[in-house]
């Protein structure tokens, strides 16, 4: 039984719904935690703010990160994840609408594990999520835990 969570950082409720649906259709049963902005995502990962007291050693299996976010934007969230020893090896997949070269380049430069552009066609989106889940949740060898 896979109990690892997936952390989805996404502010658009429609996209949250679609992503949940795409995961469900791809038979990815991992529990989905949704944070609506960059600050909340960081709070969740580092046990601050509303998530104070959360066991921060319980890292999600995968972070799905949108780039355009209120408060702290996606690239900043990624930078902070990579800057902290506890979350440095956490798989982060950028899931966004933007295909601007600068965003793709900045994402990879900051250590994103994948960059997926959300297609308009939902079936393609489901396919992308399916591949994503198969790779990151099944095939990929988990990174060793960082001892704190």
């Amino acid at each position: 039984m896979n109990t690892k969570k997936i952390l989805l950082v996404e502010d658009n409720p429609s996209d949250v719904g679609l992503t949940q649906r795409a995961l469900r259709k791809s038979h990815i049963a991992n529990e989905l935690t949704v944070t609506e902005n960059g600050q909340e995502a960081l709070d969740y990962l580092f046990g601050d703010g509303a998530y104070a007291g959360r066991d921060v050693m319980q890292l999600p299996a995968l972070v799905l990160l949108d780039l355009k976010l209120p408060r702290v934007d996606g690239l900043e969230v990624l930078r902070r994840i990579r800057a902290d020893a506890r979350t440095r090896r956490l798989p982060v997949v950028i899931l966004t609408t933007s295909k601007e070269e600068e965003d793709v380049a900045a994402g990879y430069d900051l250590g994103a594990n994948s960059y997926i552009r959300k297609p308009v066609d939902f079936e393609q989106f489901v396919q992308a999520v399916q591949h994503l889940g198969l790779y990151w949740l099944v095939l990929n060898e988990e990174p060793p835990k960082v001892k704190s």
Partner: protein, 943 residues
């Protein structure tokens, strides 16, 4: 002395302040003016750029929306038309089944006889005919599946059924088994019935109804005539069709009618039956279909907000249209005697509608109409052909129904207007932001400028004050060096200059002293000259040298004292005495000789000796010298001196020499002075030039580069917003439509599912269009890196990719090797991908498909260029296009072919054109429908 120093000090300070303020004001005015100008210019460029961009985007989106809405309407009308056609085909297929079964019963009448005789014994099939004397008809019992009603004329005198009709009743009793099934399946029918031949023109009808009673109550005469009486000429028309079996032997229909029993609009379909040999009419099978099934679809169809659909018969009678559609088309209703409703397009109050021609082929036709002051788009499509029996003409003819959509034009643009409002809003906020930014940066720069000029002008003021002091004659002035920059260097140079100036002024002063002394000398010399002239006059008068003068006639005008002494003749005697020369030269020969030689030489003689005779007879030799040429005196023709004394002549010569020397000296000194003055002027000019250079260097400080960069960044973020924000809702539309389909699909009917599919297809298409637009925008903005590019190699790579993508295609490709051009390799590749991709796409239907890439010489249309230029070309043997549309070819979202035939976004050639234009070239195409197309492009050489 102390007091004087202080006042000079105050003056200098005041002067410094004044000069400094003056300089500072000038520099500030020039620099700030330049800066403001560049700010305003870049602001203007940004504003115009943004406005053009939004305008272009709207124009392109508007065009696409029009095409998209046209395509949407086209697909909608096509699917609706197919739906109605399908309904018709269903109905006709049902009727054919019914006809085939019944025809079998007739064809195998003899073989089935035992069965027929057995069946009529079975209560289910048996028709228990009962005679109703009040109406004169027979009818079977209500518990039968079908009703059989026999009119009076099929009875004999004893009210018994005649043998032939009875036989037909018996033979068709088995239809009780089929008719309920045929009636309830397939198209929704009101009545399903059989009619016997002309000798048995009664009906067997499902479902059972008291047909006889209704007839007696409403149309009693029906019970006395054959069914066929209602359709005069129909049987004959069917029989006539036997001769030409291809057209009118089959199913016929009639204009919609009102059903007598139910009062509903019905559509009647009939199929004839024949004897076994197909030579004689043997009856027919019929359906009455409820037309409401079709008219409801039309009347409830929702097109935009107020758009509507209508259905018109072949003669233009509109049989289905919603209430507001009747208003919009200006239709007038007429109710015929049989309760039939007539709404003819020809009778419309709208002139455009009355003049409408229904489509003559199966293509979807578009036209624009102005209805009630509002622009509408009308879309029409012809439905499947039907054989219609025309009552009046008594013949069967092929007729078509027409399906039409009418949509107000402005409603199709509603999404564009919404987008436009939003973009205008963000455009305004960008402008506001840009303006605010401009003000802040301008204020910052102004502060910086003030600080800089303050520093600069302090040095300049020092300089100016120093210059003033120099002007006052204080050449010891040295200015304070305040900085090490240009101003500091200038101050140093100024000090050096002041030092040199002082030296040159010292030298100048020295020369001036010299000059003054020389001028004094000259004054003395002039005084000497005046005195000598006076002396000369006295000498001339009293000198022991003779001096005389003659007029033109040879009379003596002047006769000095020496002349008197030498000749003994007084001046009074000689002046104006015509005989004077006779007295002096008494020998006429000698006198004549002298006069002749004198006349010859004129005034050109010197120490010319002649002998004269004095009063006392003494002969004296006088050496005459003429001076009339050198000192001509008006009135004196010649004058001269005469003496043998050479001493006077010597004195005179000395005198002349002295004068000449003096003049030469004055000229020399004056020249020297001029040279010194020029040197001082040169120094002054050098200083002025230095100041001007400094000002020019200062002006360059305000550069526009930063502003252009900022403008570009704004454009980038606009494109980014378009990419992200416009795509997100589209993904929502697509995703939730699919969710609806998947989760609630079973609760939706086929039409609803089809609508959802359309919604998804349109959302995805909009996504592709946004991507294409972004690509086009990127092609326009990207910075070009010019290099020498091998176009042939690029083309080869593009073809290889296409072949890999479509491995089943067989295409002959000819690429001229090593075609080189200067330009951006990435843009060239995008261009070739579009051109070769098009060639690949439009040769899909060709075997073999041929694509060629090469270069050829062409003569420029521009006569000035005269020289031959080369044009690259991409040629294919594909479907080509009509040259009438060649001009539109390169616009964004322009498409020459149906999307279903050759898919694409319509942006490729617009991209090609921008790339070619950015490389200073031209692009054009030549083509013919079905004869292939050739795209030519030129590139500017030596970019």
């Amino acid at each position: 002395m102390g007091t004087k120093h202080t006042s000079t000090g105050n003056t200098i300070t005041r002067l410094k302040d004044a000069v400094r303020n003056h300089f500072q004001t000038k520099i500030l005015v020039i620099s700030l003016g330049g800066m403001l100008f560049s700010i305003l210019l870049s602001g203007l460029i940004f504003f115009l750029g943004m406005r053009k961009l939004t305008k272009d985007v709207f124009a392109e989106v508007a065009l696409d929306l029009e095409i998209a809405s046209q395509q949407h309407l086209e697909s909608q009308i096509t699917s609706t038309a197919e739906r109605i056609n399908l309904w018709m085909r269903h109905a006709q297929a049902d009727l054919r089944i019914f006809a085939t079964i019944t025809q079998q019963l007739i064809d195998h009448r003899e073989e089935f006889r035992p069965m027929t005789e057995a069946i009529i014994e079975i209560p289910f099939f048996a028709d228990k005919m009962q005679y109703y004397p009040e109406g004169g008809y027979s009818q079977n019992a209500p518990d039968e599946p079908t009703v059989v009603t026999l009119q009076t004329l099929y009875h004999d005198e004893t009210a018994r059924i005649k043998p032939h009709p009875q036989q037909v009743i018996n033979e068709t009793a088995i239809l009780d088994l089929f008719m309920p099934a045929i009636h309830t399946q397939g198209a929704k029918k009101m009545w399903t019935y059989f009619a016997g031949d002309t000798e048995a023109g009664f009906l067997r009808l499902f479902p059972w109804t008291d047909f006889g009673k209704e007839a007696i109550e409403n149309y009693p005469e029906q019970m006395h005539i054959s069914y066929w009486t209602f359709f005069p000429g129909l049987v004959e028309a069917w029989e006539k069709g036997l001769e030409t079996p291809d057209s009118t032997t089959g199913i016929v229909t009639f204009p919609p009618a009102i059903d007598a029993t139910s009062g509903q609009a019905i559509q009647i379909f009939g199929h004839p039956l024949w004897n076994r040999e197909r030579t004689q009419f043997a009856g027919a099978v019929w359906y009455d279909l409820a037309l409401a099934e079709i008219t409801n679809i039309i009347e409830e169809m929702q097109l935009t907000q107020t758009g509507f659909a209508f259905l018109a018969l072949g003669d233009g009678n509109v049989i289905a249209i919603p209430e507001h559609g009747i208003q919009a088309l200006g239709l007038q209703e007429r109710i015929l005697g049989d309760g039939h409703l007539l709404r003819d397009l020809e009778d419309s109050r709208e002139r455009a509608v009355a003049a409408l021609t229904l489509p003559g082929d199966d293509a979807v036709s578009f036209l624009e109409l102005r209805l009630a002051g509002r622009d509408h788009i009308m879309v029409m499509r012809r439905l499947a052909p039907m054989n219609v029996f025309l009552d009046g003409a008594e013949q069967i003819a092929v007729q078509y129904w027409t399906l039409g959509f009418v949509v107000p034009k402005d409603e199709t643009y509603a999404p564009l207007i919404a987008v436009q409002t939003n973009v205008t809003k963000s455009f305004k906020s960008i402008l506001l932001l840009q303006g605010g930014l401009l003000v802040v940066v301008a204020a910052g720069l102004a502060g910086l400028m003030f600080f800089l000029t303050e520093r600069m002008t302090r040095g300049l003021a020092e300089l100016s004050a120093g210059a003033h002091q120099i002007a006052q004659g204080d050449f010891d002035t040295q200015v304070e060096i305040l900085s090490t920059d240009e101003i500091g260097r200038l101050a140093r140079m100024f000090n050096e200059m002041a030092h040199q100036l002082k030296e040159s002024f010292d030298r100048l002063e020295h020369w001036n002293t010299q000059l003054k002394e020389e001028a004094l000398e000259r004054q003395l010399a002039e005084k000497d000259l005046q005195e000598s002239q006076e002396r000369l006059r006295l000498v001339l008068e009293n000198m022991p040298v003779m001096m005389d003068a003659f007029d033109a006639e040879g009379n003596i005008l002047v006769w000095n004292k020496a002349c008197e002494w030498v000749t003994g003749y007084s001046a009074e005697e000689m002046i104006n005495n015509p005989r004077a020369l006779e007295w002096l030269y008494p020998d006429p020969d000698y006198r004549q000789q002298m006069l002749a030689q004198w006349a010859e030489r004129g005034g050109d003689y010197y120490n010319w000796e002649w002998t004269l005779t004095a009063r006392d007879g003494a002969v004296k030799t006088v050496a005459w010298s003429s001076i009339s040429d050198r000192f001509p005196i008006p009135g004196w023709a010649t004058w001269g001196t005469g003496v043998d004394v050479t001493k006077q002549a010597q004195v005179e010569k000395e005198l002349w020499k002295h004068r000449e020397d003096l003049e030469e000296m004055i000229t020399q000194r004056t020249d020297e002075l001029n040279v010194r003055v020029a040197e001082v002027e040169l120094l002054n000019r050098a200083m002025t030039n230095l100041l001007q250079d400094f000002q020019a260097a200062n002006a360059k400080l305000t550069s526009m580069a930063d502003w252009l960069k900022a403008t570009n960044q704004e454009l980038e973020s606009f494109a980014y917003a378009v990419s992200h924000d416009l795509r997100a809702p589209l993904r929502g539309i697509d995703g939730w439509s699919l969710a609806l389909l998947e989760d609630y699909g079973e609760q939706l009917d086929a039409t609803a599912r089809q609508y959802l599919d359309s919604v998804r297809a349109e959302a995805q298409r909009m996504g592709q269009l946004i991507d294409a637009l972004l690509h086009l925008s990127r092609v326009t903005r990207a910075e070009m890196q010019i290099q020498h590019v091998n176009l042939s190699a690029l083309a080869q790579a593009v073809i290889a990719r296409l072949q890999a993508e479509y491995p089943d295609r067989e295409v002959e490709v000819h690429i001229q090797p090593d075609l080189m051009a200067d330009g951006d390799a990435t843009l060239f590749e995008a261009m070739l991908t579009n051109l070769l991709g098009n060639a690949w796409k439009f040769t899909r239907t060709r075997t073999p498909a041929c694509i060629e890439f090469g270069v050829m010489a062409y003569e420029s249309e521009n006569k000035k260029e005269d020289q031959e230029r080369k044009a690259f070309f991409v040629r294919d043997n594909g479907v080509g296009f009509d040259m009438a549309y060649a001009k539109k070819l390169f616009g964004a979202f322009q498409r020459m072919h149906k999307a279903s035939e050759f898919p694409g976004t319509g942006i490729g050639l617009a991209t090609v054109r921008r790339i070619i234009h950015r490389h200073g070239g031209q692009v054009w195409a030549e083509a013919q429908v079905d004869q292939g197309a050739t795209f030519y492009f030129t590139l500017k050489e030596n970019l």
